[in-house]
C-alpha cells in the first residue's frame, strides 16, 4: 500500500464497472499526488503529512457519495482535498475568496526574471512555501495535483481564467524569489 504502482494512465476509467472505485485503489492512484499537493501547500513536512492523511480520509469516507454521472473523479477528489487544505488553514478561507475572484483584474508584474536550473528541490520547495496562501494553493493544485486550469478553478471556486492568471502571477513571484532580477527596458 505504501508504494502506489498504478498511474492515471493505467486506470483511465476509474469508477466504472471495469474499475470499481475502492478505497485501496483510490489511495494507490492518488496518494502520491495528494502528498505532493500537501507538501507544496503546507509550511512544513509535518503539516503536509497531516493534511495528506486528512484529505485521504475524507476522500475515502466520501466514496459513497461519488457519482460518475454528476462529474468527473478528478474534480470530485480535488474539491475534497482543497477543502481539507482550506479547513486546515493552508488555503485562504472564505473571507478572502471574494478577493480571489478579482484575480484576473490584477496586472502581471512587468518584471522578468531569469531562472536557471541551478536550484535544488529544497530551495524550490522553500520558495513555494514562502508564497502567499493563494499562490501556494494554485501552484500546489497545478503542479502538485497536476490539474488543468479548469480543475484548479473548480477546486478553489474560481473561474478557469482566474486560475490561469493567478498561477501566472504565482510563477512570476516564484521566479523573483529564485532568480536574479533583470528589468527589461
Amino acid at each position: 500500500m505504501e508504494d502506489p504502482a498504478i498511474g492515471i494512465a493505467d486506470v483511465p476509467a476509474l469508477g466504472t464497472p471495469q474499475w470499481p472505485l475502492t478505497a485501496e485503489l483510490l489511495c494507490r492512484v492518488y496518494a502520491n499526488r495528494v502528498f505532493k499537493f500537501a507538501q507544496l501547500i503546507s509550511s512544513s513536512s509535518g503539516d503536509a503529512e497531516d493534511l495528506a492523511q486528512n484529505a485521504l480520509e475524507r476522500a475515502i469516507r466520501g466514496l459513497k457519495t461519488y457519482d460518475a454521472n454528476k462529474g468527473d473523479l478528478e474534480g470530485w477528489l480535488w474539491r475534497i482535498v482543497a477543502n481539507a487544505g482550506r479547513d486546515a488553514g493552508r488555503i485562504a478561507r472564505r473571507e478572502r475568496l471574494m478577493f480571489e475572484r478579482l484575480a484576473e483584474r490584477w496586472p502581471v508584474e512587468q518584471r522578468v526574471v531569469e531562472v536557471s536550473d541551478g536550484f535544488t528541490n529544497d530551495e524550490l520547495l522553500d520558495a513555494v512555501r514562502a508564497l502567499s496562501k493563494r499562490h501556494r494553493a494554485v501552484i500546489a493544485l497545478r503542479y502538485g495535483a497536476d490539474l488543468d486550469y479548469r480543475h484548479v478553478g473548480m477546486a478553489l471556486g474560481i473561474s478557469e481564467a482566474a486560475a490561469l492568471m493567478t498561477t501566472r502571477r504565482a510563477l512570476s513571484n516564484l521566479r523573483t524569489r529564485l532568480g536574479k532580477g533583470v528589468n527589461l527596458p
Partner: protein, 340 residues
C-alpha cells in the same frame, strides 16, 4: 524561463511517508464521523508498569500522572490559580478580557532570538498565546515595527495538534479551541516554533528551535440568542449563530432570495459600493450610542445553488445592545443583538 520553472515544479518528487495510506484507511474505517482529523497518535501502553507497581508507589504515581494529564487536578492540589493581567490595549484589540488571562513566563532562545510567552487564554471558541520577541513589550500591531510571525505547532499532552487560525495581531497567536481530554482536564501545551517569518522589512526569516510549555484551562464561551430572519431588498437575511469569546463576537449568517441567485452568474466585480458584496452583504455593528464596533474580518461564500453563507468577527467594547446592519444599500436589514 517559465518552462524551466514549470518543469522543475512538475518533476518534484516526494517520498510517501511510511504508513500514511494505512493510517488514512484505518482512520476512515474506525472513525467515520471524525472531522478535521490530525495524524493518528498511538500512545504506548503502560499496562506493564501498572502491573509491577506496588500499591503505595501506585498511588503516588497516580497523583503525579493525574497532575500531569489533568492540570485541573494539579491546580486543585496546589490551590494556586494563576491568573493575572497583561497590557490592556493589546488585550482589548484582540477581544480579550484581562481577568481571564493566565499569566505565563516561559521563554526560549534559538538562532539569536528569544520568544517569551507572557500569557494565555482558552475558551470554547479559541486558544490564545500572548508572545513577546527579543524583550520588546507586546504592543499593538504596527506595520512599521512588527517583526515576525511565529510559525510552529501547538500540541497538548495527549498528542493532539491545534491548527492556527487567523488573528489580526500576529503576536497574539490564536489556535482552535482545546478538544478531547485536554478540554475537560486542562491542557499542558507545547508550542514548538520552527521559523520566524518576517512581517515587515526590518526583519528577515529565521529558522530555529524554540519550545515553550504552558498550562491552560478552558473557559466556556457564550452563545448568544439570535433574532429571527429579516427580508430587505428582496433578500432574506438569517443569523445562524452569535458567539462571544471575551469581547470577540463571531456571527454566522445566510442570505437567500432572487438577488442572491442573480449575482451568481455575474462576472467578478470590483469591491466598490455598486458591488453585491458591499451593497448587500458588508456587515457593520454599532452600539446603542451609535459607536461602531471594530469589524476585524467578514466574508462569504456563494455556492452554485442555495443560500449564500458568511461570517464576521468584531470586537465589542462592552455589554449592551448592538445593531447589526447588512450592506450599504438603502433600507438594509438591521438586527438587535444583546451582549451580556
Amino acid at each position: 524561463m517559465t518552462e524551466v520553472l514549470e518543469r522543475a515544479l512538475s518533476e518534484m518528487e516526494f517520498e510517501l511517508p511510511a504508513g500514511l495510506v494505512d493510517r488514512a484507511l484505518d482512520a476512515a474505517e474506525r472513525e467515520p464521523a471524525r472531522k478535521n482529523a490530525g495524524r493518528v497518535i498511538r500512545l504506548t501502553s503502560r499496562t506493564a508498569l501498572v502491573r509491577v507497581a506496588a500499591l503505595v508507589i501506585g498511588v503516588l504515581l497516580a497523583n503525579v500522572a493525574a497532575a500531569y494529564f489533568a492540570p485541573k487536578y494539579g491546580q486543585a492540589l496546589a490551590d494556586s490559580p494563576i491568573v493575572g493581567g497583561v497590557a490592556g490595549p493589546v488585550l482589548r484589540f484582540s477581544g480579550l478580557d484581562a481577568s481571564l488571562i493566565t499569566r505565563l513566563d516561559a521563554s526560549a532562545t534559538s538562532s539569536g532570538h528569544t520568544i517569551r510567552l507572557v500569557g494565555g487564554f482558552a475558551d470554547t471558541e479559541r486558544t490564545v498565546l500572548l508572545l513577546e520577541f527579543d524583550g520588546e513589550p507586546h504592543g499593538l500591531p504596527n506595520k512599521q515595527r512588527e517583526c515576525c510571525y511565529a510559525d510552529g505547532s501547538l500540541t497538548d499532552q495527549f498528542g493532539r495538534e491545534y491548527h492556527r487560525v487567523y488573528s489580526p495581531d500576529a503576536l497574539t497567536a490564536t489556535f482552535e479551541p482545546l478538544a478531547g481530554p485536554a478540554r475537560d482536564l486542562g491542557a499542558r501545551l507545547t508550542f514548538h516554533v520552527i521559523e520566524l517569518k518576517p512581517l515587515g522589512r526590518n526583519f528577515h526569516a529565521v529558522q530555529g528551535d524554540w519550545t515553550l510549555r504552558l498550562t491552560l484551562l478552558q473557559h466556556a464561551g457564550v452563545v448568544l440568542p439570535v433574532p429571527g430572519p429579516a427580508t430587505a431588498n428582496g433578500i432574506t437575511y438569517t443569523l445562524k449563530s452569535a458567539r462571544l469569546s471575551g469581547t470577540q463576537l463571531k456571527i454566522q449568517f445566510e442570505l437567500s432570495g432572487p438577488p442572491v441567485d442573480q449575482q451568481r452568474g455575474l462576472p467578478a466585480q470590483p469591491m466598490d459600493n455598486r458591488s453585491f458584496a458591499m451593497g448587500y452583504v458588508r456587515p457593520s455593528l454599532v452600539d446603542a450610542q451609535g459607536n461602531s464596533a471594530s469589524v476585524h474580518e467578514w466574508g462569504f461564500s456563494s455556492p452554485k445553488q442555495g443560500a449564500l453563507s458568511g461570517g464576521m468577527t468584531a470586537i465589542v467594547p462592552g455589554s449592551g445592545r448592538y445593531t447589526l446592519r447588512f450592506g450599504t444599500a438603502p433600507d438594509g436589514p438591521t438586527f438587535q443583538i444583546d451582549v451580556p
